[in-house]
């Protein structure tokens, strides 16, 4: 009987990798690591209190070229978005994610024209809601899903992101734990987007240029 490519490849790897250790023992080691997912070394930099994390995130995101604006409440968000667009001389049009926190914000009090859904690439400005952020590196964590179409992160020239200050963690690891709690062990949303600054390329003579395929501007509205 002919064996499948899968079986042939796995058999060859097994033989080379096992190094005399019994299969039962190897299986045990693998099962343990997958179940325990040991953390390893988490830099001390982000292991600080809430305000410290918010300050560190703001600093690190700024260093990566993002703009961070802190506002007190979700009620202040629509105005802040409208002000930013006006200051940047952009049309008052936004494609917005369906996140309930955004849906509940009083956008009707502004002159903004809001559209919901996925972007077809013609939108200048997108607004999504982050799951949280990583202070250690100034990184936003944005999950795909019906509420946050992935295209909003990448297609519009200007990516605006709402972020609750309570969701700023010190490191990446707490988010893996959160995802396990929410989706179950070993399950994930289609895409977890870790975003650190606006898109860039240094492929021409190593000159760093902002605004490659993704957004040219990344603006974070940090709430609370």
């Amino acid at each position: 009987m002919a064996t499948s490519p899968r079986e042939t490849m796995l058999a060859r790897i097994r033989q080379a990798a096992a190094g005399g250790v019994s299969q039962a023992e190897r299986r045990k080691a693998v099962a343990a690591r997958l179940a325990e997912h040991p953390k390893g070394i988490v830099p001390a930099r982000g292991q600080i209190d809430r305000e410290g994390r918010v300050a560190l995130f703001t600093e690190m995101a700024g260093r990566a070229g993002a703009r961070v604006q802190r506002i007190a409440t979700y009620d202040a968000l629509p105005g802040a978005v409208a002000d930013w667009l006006r200051a940047a001389n952009l049309p008052a049009e936004v494609i917005m994610s369906g996140d309930p926190r955004l849906a509940a914000a009083p956008f009707e009090t502004t002159a903004l024209s809001i559209r919901n859904g996925a972007s077809d690439g013609s939108d200048l400005t997108g607004l999504s809601h982050a799951e949280g952020a990583i202070a250690e590196s100034g990184t936003l964590v944005v999950l795909s899903g019906p509420d946050n179409p992935n295209s909003l992160n990448y297609l519009p020239d200007n990516h605006l992101v709402a972020l609750s200050a309570d969701d700023v963690e010190g490191a990446m690891e707490p988010f893996w734990q959160r995802l396990r709690m929410h989706y179950g062990e070993g399950a994930m949303p289609r895409s977890v987007n870790l975003i650190t600054g606006p898109s860039r390329s240094a492929d021409i003579e190593q000159t760093l240029l902002i605004g490659a395929h993704g957004p040219r501007e990344l603006v974070v509205f940090l709430i609370g």
Binding site: P5, R6, M9, L10, R12, I13, A17, G19, R26, R27, A29, V30, R33, L34, H37, G40, I41, P43, M60, A64, G121, S137, G138, S144, G145, P146, P149, N150, S151, Y154, L155, W176, L179, G186, A187, M188, P189, R190, S191, V192, N193, L194, I195, T196, G197, P198, S199, R200, S201, A202, D203, I204, E205, Q206, T207, L209, G211, A212, H213, G214
Partner: protein
């Protein structure tokens, strides 16, 4: 890609005489080296994270079959499909089959070294499918019909004015009077042209930096965002990755991510690190309808359990080549295959055979900088030495080199003879060198003296000087 490793010596000579290439290469050390240093220094845990990275990769390699099985199970649970490719031919056939099933006419691609390794672009073109590279550097070299000369900066050998000329040639439908003198206008033009291509593509192919066994996810890292657009807009997302990209858990991937970007570009994190798992969910508003992972072996399992296994820890950051004096001098194309620099000098003989790659492990001064900066501490000089030993065992070196090594080995095993011999030759060479104490030419050393002078020995051997200093020190004490 066309293999030219056997003519490494001629390739290098050509590279040295290539003025635009030398102009481009002069910039390599300026950017990468200082940025890596600064990023590493700014993180107190960096060295400990490197140790952790080594531990994780070693553990994953020791249990590779089991983690691959776990990975495949999770991919399928998320609605994706895993394809197993023992070699390049199998991988190409799988990708072509997927493209044909979707009736694909064009595919977008995000930078992937595996794609280079399996020569995917040429193959797709031969079969009537247009591959479109979307990473700016890859796009540039695709227009130039070249191959990457660096694993993370594929167009590092190209100068701005050359890119401008290529764009004017390739984008003939745009206004010929447009100003492209600023690199920013080149980037904007590529962005505009490629946006259209994303929309036309029926399939998007990306590589992967890591595959996570725990979740069946591919972790894809870019600065441009092109991998995200490739998978998002392509309707069918195909990940091509080699088997050693597996890590056990998301936490393990996080440890490696902390050393990857710092070692590569000196960033704390690359702009986009995306963890993708399966196709678009039923309730999602966007994303690909299909998700496939092609797992490629292509010679890697033969490295497991050998002294070359350590090279499979490589996370493709490019630090070894950035810091290599040989790479800095000749660039990546001279190495003649997919992977240049020190890691290429170790991987190429493993993957295509040492007969064709015999020069590469010899193209090193063994200065050790590559090993010093490697985030996963691959002992690159040691592995190159292993290849040299194998070359000697298999009589792959030219006869004069073998005789020379044989003669040296004979003497080196007989210390008295060795000392006697060197004590005769050292003063002789010193006298021959005259007042300058340097040779501008010397028989049998033409390869060295053609480019620089050979300093002459100072007249006495190390052992003689050592004995004299010891006895002088003894007298001084007494």
């Amino acid at each position: 890609m066309h293999l030219t490793s056997p003519s490494f010596k001629e390739n290098s000579a050509r590279a040295l005489a290539d003025a635009p290439l030398q102009r481009a290469l002069a910039k390599v050390p300026l950017g990468f080296i200082d940025k890596r240093r600064a990023a590493a220094d700014a993180l107190p845990e960096f060295e400990a994270l490197r140790d952790k990275a080594v531990e994780i990769k070693n553990h994953a390699l020791k249990h590779l079959d089991l983690y691959l099985e776990a990975f495949a199970e999770k991919v399928e649970a998320a609605g994706g499909t895993v394809h197993w490719a023992a070699d390049a031919e199998a991988a190409r056939a799988i990708v072509l089959d997927l493209a044909r099933k979707r009736g694909a006419k064009s595919v977008t691609k995000s930078k992937s070294m595996i794609s280079e390794e399996i020569e995917l672009n040429d193959f797709l073109e031969q079969n009537g499918i247009q591959p479109v590279e979307t990473d700016l550097g890859e796009y540039i070299i695709q227009l130039r019909h070249e191959h990457p000369s660096h694993i993370i900066a594929p167009a590092i050998h190209v100068n701005r004015d050359q890119v401008e000329a290529d764009f004017r040639r390739a984008h003939a439908d745009l206004d010929p009077q447009r100003d492209l003198s600023d690199p920013r206008s080149l980037l904007a033009e590529a962005r505009q042209v490629l946006r259209r291509r994303y929309g036309e593509a029926d399939m998007g192919i990306t590589g992967a930096n890591f595959l996570v066994a725990e979740t069946g996810s591919a972790v894809i890292v870019t600065n441009e965002g092109n991998a995200d657009l490739t998978q998002l807009l392509g309707k069918c997302h195909v990940v091509i990755a080699s088997i050693e990209k597996i890590v056990p858990t998301l936490e393990d991937a996080s440890q490696l991510l902390r050393v990857l970007a710092r070692s590569a570009t000196g960033q704390d994190m690359s702009v986009y690190t995306t963890v993708v798992t399966g196709p678009k969910r039923a309730e999602d508003l966007d994303g690909p309808e299909e998700f496939h992972v092609v797992l490629l072996d292509n010679g890697r399992s033969a490295m497991l359990g050998t002294e070359f296994e350590e090279a499979l820890r490589c996370i493709r950051c490019g630090a070894c080549m950035n810091h290599c004096p040989v790479y800095q001098t000749i660039g990546g194309h001279a190495y003649g295959w997919v992977y240049p620099g020190p890691i290429g000098a170790v991987l190429t003989p493993s993957l295509i055979g040492v007969e064709d790659a015999a020069h590469l492990p010899n193209a090193s001064t063994f200065c050790g900088r590559c090993e010093e900066v490697c985030p996963v501490r691959i002992p690159l000089p040691k592995l190159m030495r292993h290849w040299r030993e194998r070359e000697f065992e298999r009589h792959l070196q030219p006869a004069p080199m073998r005789w020379g090594l044989g003669l040296w080995a004979f003497a080196a095993r007989r210390p008295a003879l060795y000392r006697w011999g060197t004590s005769l030759v050292a003063p002789l060479l010193s006298r021959m060198a005259g007042k300058k104490q340097r040779f501008s030419s010397l028989p049998l050393a033409g390869g060295w003296t053609k480019g620089r002078d050979l300093p002459a020995p100072e007249g006495k051997t190390f052992m003689q000087q050592w004995a004299e200093r010891r006895s002088a020190a003894g007298k001084a004490k007494a």
